[in-house]
């Protein structure tokens, strides 16, 4: 039996409509999981589904920033062996231009919804003993700073703190919680930052800051998620899996 197999496992992927979340959903299906796809836009989730192998996958769209949607999702879900949260938004804004509404919005999407959905899943006993929760965080905010998107950094630091506390609190129930901290993976989420800095920004960062001389792909991150979801990592909880092409070495 391949310890990395996800055969027979049911995995929820939130934020599955694009980027890293979509890549994770596709890879989990390849490894044998039944995947439940969540995101706000049904059409984009259908597009993810069309790229997935295997059968028995489900689409359950909702807006996780709305409490009633979140509770309805938790009620409708079957028992889970795993949950990967990849729902998140960027925010490029210098500190002196902060406003309360925008700061609250990014916290709501990037950490508050994660906390409340985990709470619901635990309360409604949807996470089976031996299940694994994987929170997609970042290297910025958790390990290093980044200027111009400090509110994003703050939410990713919060993901890190929540992951560690939750791992300890839920360990007696056999629920493992870890994070993946990716370096730069070009997806739609980065468009604004690129737009401001110019296209040359990417090449420059790649050559100067990534020792492995390329940026990440959704598959790079998905392979880490497969490890953390599978029984191969059954003695791993509360840890950060950094997948960054060596970025943090500098």
């Amino acid at each position: 039996m391949n310890p990395f197999s996800l055969d027979g496992k049911t995995v929820l992927v939130t934020g599955a409509s694009s980027g890293i979340g979509r890549g994770i959903a596709i890879s989990c299906a390849e490894m044998g999981a039944k995947v439940i796809l969540n995101g706000r836009n049904r059409e984009r989730l259908e597009e993810t589904l069309s790229q997935m192998s295997g059968a028995g996958h489900l689409i359950m769209p909702c807006d996780l920033s709305k409490q009633e949607d979140l509770e309805a999702l938790a009620d409708a879900l079957p028992e889970l062996h795993g949950w990967v949260n990849s729902a998140g938004i960027p925010k490029v804004c210098p500190i002196k231009h902060f406003n309360r509404e925008e700061v609250e919005e990014i916290f709501n999407v990037n950490i508050t919804s994660t906390m409340l959905l985990l709470s619901m899943l635990v309360k409604k006993k949807k996470l089976k003993r031996g299940s694994s929760v994987v929170l997609i965080s970042a290297v910025t905010g958790a390990f290093v700073g980044s200027k111009g998107d400090t509110s994003y950094c703050a939410t990713k630091g919060a993901v890190n703190g929540f992951m560690k506390g939750a791992a300890l609190e839920l360990a007696p129930q056999g629920i493992r919680i870890n994070s993946i901290n990716p370096g730069l993976v070009p997806t739609n989420i980065l468009n604004l930052a690129n737009d401001i800095a110019g296209e040359e920004h990417h090449t420059e960062i790649m050559l100067d800051k990534y020792p492995l001389k390329r940026l990440g792909t959704p598959e790079d991150i998905a392979h880490g998620a497969i490890y953390l979801l599978s029984d191969a990592s059954s003695w791993v909880t509360g840890t950060n899996l950094v997948i960054d092409g060596g970025y943090l070495l500098n």
Binding site: P94, H97, K147, D195, I196
Partner: protein, 75 residues
């Protein structure tokens, strides 16, 4: 749009550059203090004060503050 006011708002996003450096003819990208963060600040200022959304490409495609002001006005 009042160009004088636009220049004041523009200059307000800089910390080191003296006010007299900011004129309608200033080539803003040539300022020592111009970098990705000041660029972001100008995008945020235009959004807040003028309620218009401009992009990094718009900043790259104009040269003087007056040109940028005209672009924002007509946006």
């Amino acid at each position: 749009m009042d160009i004088k006011e636009f220049i004041e708002n523009f200059a307000g996003e800089f910390d080191e550059t003296p006010m007299e450096m900011f004129t309608p003819e200033t080539d803003y990208k040539a300022l020592d203090e111009w970098n990705s963060l000041t660029a972001l600040s100008i995008v945020a200022m235009v959004d807040e004060v003028y309620n218009k959304t401009i992009t990094g490409a718009d900043l790259r495609n104009h040269t003087t503050i007056a040109e940028l002001a005209e672009f924002v006005e007509n946006k």
